[in-house]
Amino acid sequence: MRESERIDGLVDRHGRELHVFLWRMLRDDQDAEDCLQETFLRAFRALPRLSPEANTRAWLYAIAANVGRTWLKKRRKQTGWEQTQSLRRARPSAGDAPEQLDTLSLLAAVDRLPPRQREALILRKYQGLDYAAIAAVQGNSAAAARANVYQALRRLRRLLLTTERSGRGRDEETTEG
């Protein structure tokens, strides 16, 4: 098959899910769009080197994850992006159900996760990849991929407990689960 047909097939099969993944990672429409283009450009250029037996989906996710990681790093350097933009853009506070935490605190905590932990959590829970596939994306073992997911949750929990303690009595009470 010619490479142009191969890449078109990959865009058809995986373009949507990769966009959703990048959108979840970056939480910004324009950034996700730019990163998706960069992902497929890199994939297209690397296609001749892709072994026919490779797991194409994991390979594409790996490229997307790389692109997203670099983007996040760059964005963090712009002063305070994560604290202001990311939180301002997601402002569902009025709709927060009582059995939920404050969305803004959660986003702030997620922004403080190491990129690979954030990535592993999103891949496992929201993109539906199993640990072997996440390992292929992150270039580690299934056990390490699993550990990344659980460490993400532990860390989030710790971060949120701290926020909750310092924020208690300020506005609304956080309901215990």
């Binding site: 490479e3 142009s4 890449i7 078109d8 865009v11 373009g15 949507r16 966009h19 959703v20 959108w23 979840r24 429409d29 996700a32 769009e33 998706l36 283009q37 497929f40 450009l41 297209f44 250029r45 997601a90 569902p92 159900a97 059995e99 939920q100 935490l101 404050d102 969305t103 959660l106 986003l107 997620v110 999103i122 496992r124 829970k125 929201y126 699993r146 997911v149 659980y150 949750l153 989030l156 929990r157 949120l160 956080t174 309901t175 215990e176 689960g177």
Partner: protein, 230 residues
């Protein structure tokens, strides 16, 4: 293996790592509410559409042709969407195609029709009927300084020469003679951007990275009746 704490058992269920019922943990609910949501379908659709457009641009063919019989041997040219992208002196067609691939060209199509404007001008130049080239160039791959050097070299008229230092001076960087030399050495369109008209300050020819090296450079300068020794 020791049993994980209760909260982590709930995480296992939530992640689908083990069977179980509903979860009550507010952190998990908030995660679902925040990250479980997908972007609006039209946002995804637009992003995928942009990818297709970008890939189409990437895959546009580059046209090339060869002038088999010039005073300096074969001359190969390639023309992309933006204009003339590569000129190579000497070598084989396979060499030239390999060079294009190294520059990231995915599809090269030989076409006399699509390359006619540049080909005609080069033929006129070798017949002594053309003072300067007049065609659009695709220098999109080059960095700012590299491009500046080449565009400055493009203004040196037929029949004259300039030194590396002199060219650096016209760019307001009198100490950048070496950097100018390096930029000219990677001129993607020799001949059309006449980097052969730039010589060393002691009057020697300096270098020429096209095939044939300095002897091709000398041949071109003599042909143009430039004031050079040798």
């Amino acid at each position: 293996m020791k049993k994980p704490p209760k909260v982590e058992q709930e995480w296992e269920t939530w992640l689908g790592d083990r069977a179980g019922g509903l979860q009550a943990d507010p952190m998990l609910r908030t995660l679902d509410a925040t990250f479980g949501a997908a972007p609006a379908a039209k946002i995804t659709q637009r992003a995928v559409e942009r990818v297709r457009e970008r890939l189409a641009v990437e895959q546009r063919p580059v046209y090339y042709d060869v002038l088999p019989d010039t005073p300096i041997g074969q001359v190969y040219i390639s023309v992309g969407t933006e204009g003339l992208a590569a000129v190579a002196i000497g070598g084989s067609e396979a060499d030239f195609l390999a060079q294009l691939r190294r520059q990231g060209v995915q599809a090269a199509v030989r076409s006399g029709e699509q390359t006619r404007q540049v080909r005609t001008q080069i033929e006129e130049y070798f017949r002594g009927e053309r003072e300067r080239f007049d065609c659009s160039l695709d220098l999109s791959q080059l960095t700012g300084f590299h491009r500046q050097v080449l565009l400055a070299a493009a203004r040196i008229p037929r029949g004259s020469v300039m030194t590396y230092g002199g060219l650096a001076q016209t760019l307001g960087k009198p100490r950048a003679a070496r950097a100018v030399g390096r930029a000219l050495a990677t001129n993607p369109v020799p001949l059309v951007i006449p980097c052969h008209r730039v010589i060393a300050s002691d009057g020697s020819l300096g270098g020429y990275s096209a095939r044939g090296g300095v002897s091709t450079k000398l041949q071109l300068l003599r042909f143009e009746r430039a004031p050079v020794a040798g």
